[in-house]
């Protein structure tokens, strides 16, 4: 699904190829195969959400791309370089927001940003960075005195101070209250406007929906789905119809429907791609039996959250 949207790679930057391209990434720790052939493409200028349950291989994949880990096998290119050997040159051009990172509590926000600015050849102005992550008011406060949300924004600021082309965000809002999450989302939305390419790792489907142009879902070391949030919803179109069998009717008496029928005692579930037609058949059948209505009738479309859970739980069992 992802690779059909070619227009993204012709983003007007003059750069060849996507920002990130991974093919058949494999990672083994001893006998344990953590990644079983990951394919991932992040075009320039896009925000790609990378979702998956804990232990699925998200962080391992991202850390291979960031240059922290050496892959066992497969190909990886980040900004045209191999992340395993890109070294300094690559780190000049990427920004990394890790999960839960400490700071020196005794330095102020401005001092911390200035220190990191000194590590890059062409840093962004310190005050611009502080403004970008909305910490102007707290600029002269010590890191010790910041709230959790403010520290997280400082993390983002430190990842941006080198003016990177590509930003890795690893679970930027885990553990946030709703207000802090919205603020963080605004900051990330601001990055998109700057034209940054972002690989956003997250547990939360709603976060991916709010921020990402495209989504890749990983489970048990494989990519199980990939595309725009709308693509993903469309790929799993089936609607769930549920009701209770009318008195005196057996499952065998049910009319012909296009969907898959499952029964459990008197409870019937029909998973269908054509709910309108099936409902017509069912209600007609019920009327014909003189029942007039179907008890406990519900018709639901799965949310992206459900799709995510279905995709990832299947694979968990398969693993």
């Amino acid at each position: 699904m992802l690779r059909t949207r070619k227009e993204a790679s012709s983003h007007p930057t003059g750069r060849e190829g996507p920002a990130i391209e991974a093919r058949g990434l494999i990672m083994r720790y001893g006998d344990r195969e953590v990644l079983r052939g990951i394919d991932l493409v992040v075009p320039h200028g896009m925000v790609v959400g990378f979702l998956g349950p804990n232990g699925a291989g998200k962080t391992t994949t991202v850390e291979i791309l960031e240059g922290y880990r050496r892959r066992t096998a497969g190909r990886a290119t980040v900004l045209g370089m191999d992340p395993a050997t890109g070294g300094r040159e690559l780190r000049e051009r990427i920004g990394i927001v890790l999960q839960e990172t400490g700071h020196n509590p005794d330095l102020t926000v401005r001092e911390t940003v200035r220190q990191f600015a000194g590590y890059y050849q062409r840093p962004r102005p310190v005050d611009k960075v502080i403004g970008l992550v909305g910490l102007q008011e707290a600029a002269d406060r010590r890191v010790r005195a910041l709230s959790g949300g403010q520290r997280r924004r400082l993390d983002v600021g430190l990842a941006l101070v080198g003016d990177p082309e590509l930003v890795f965000l690893d679970e930027p809002t885990t553990g946030f209250d709703p207000a802090a999450r919205r603020q963080a989302w605004q900051v990330i939305g601001g990055l998109r406007e700057l034209g940054k390419t972002i690989l956003l790792t997250t547990h939360y489907m709603d976060e991916a929906q709010a921020l990402a142009d495209r989504v890749a879902i990983i489970a048990a070391g494989r990519i199980v789905a990939e595309g725009t949030p709308a693509d993903l919803a469309a790929a799993q179109r089936s609607t769930e119809i549920r009701f209770t069998l009318p008195a005196g009717a057996a499952p065998a008496d049910l009319p012909q429907v296009s969907g898959r029928v499952t029964t459990q005692g008197h409870n019937v579930g029909i998973s269908t791609d054509d709910p309108t037609l099936d409902l017509l058949a069912l209600t007609g059948w019920a009327a014909g039996r003189g029942a007039g209505h179907l008890d406990g009738l519900t018709v639901t479309r799965p949310s992206l959250e459900d799709i995510y859970l279905t995709l990832t739980s299947d694979k968990e069992v398969a693993a």
Partner: protein, 260 residues
Amino acid sequence: MNPLVLAARESGNVLRAFWRNRSAAFFTLLLPVMFLVLFGAINRDGTVQVTSGGPQIGYTTFFAPGMLGMAIMAGTFVALVVGLTVMRDNGQLKRLRGTPLSPWTFFSGQVVSRLVLVIVEAVLVLGLGRLLFKVSLPPTAGGWVTFALVALLGAATFTALAVAYTRLVTNADSAPALANAAYLPLLFLSSAWFPISGLPHWLAKLAGDFPLAPMLDGMRQALIFGHGVGAIWPDIWKLLAWLAVGLVVSLRTFRWERAA
């Protein structure tokens, strides 16, 4: 950019953070000075013999380099074992690793900033010792050079050993205990506070091979007797050997991330 400029800037970063943390600054710089004043006042007119049959020297003259040695080991070894494991466990090292900052620059910053603190401490201890207790200072320029060489070599050695030692510290919570497990016994066995004569021979010899004893001996030989480098080669060799061990082990085993 010039790597020396980067290293100097990184040292500045470390020092800025150091001065901000009052309690760390206090323990590193003022505690040895406080001990010097207290014990010097109590034992103002006492004398000790550094070696059996050697000349009697003023206790404060013996004690001042001891406190400086204590400050050097606390400020380099203990402070770094704790500081680096905290930075490793809370992800600061990993974050630095994700920036263009080179490991070389990072460690130069750590070493140089510690050396600066050693110089500050030496001025404090020797200055106050001279002022209050008339502790002896090197009579010759050669003595000063030797003293400075031993103090800085010792500081570099303990810095390298601290980096190597972090491999044994599985988490930051246990770092102070594990650092002290090496620091406190050495402090007592290496005659930092007073000459130890009652030790079993094998234990005295063993303690003498660890880096604190040769550093203290070298500093005292230079400060008290004005000996040149030529007179203290055994001390220099021992420190250089420990420095080499520290560097090799650090390079091979240092971890930027906490164990999973």
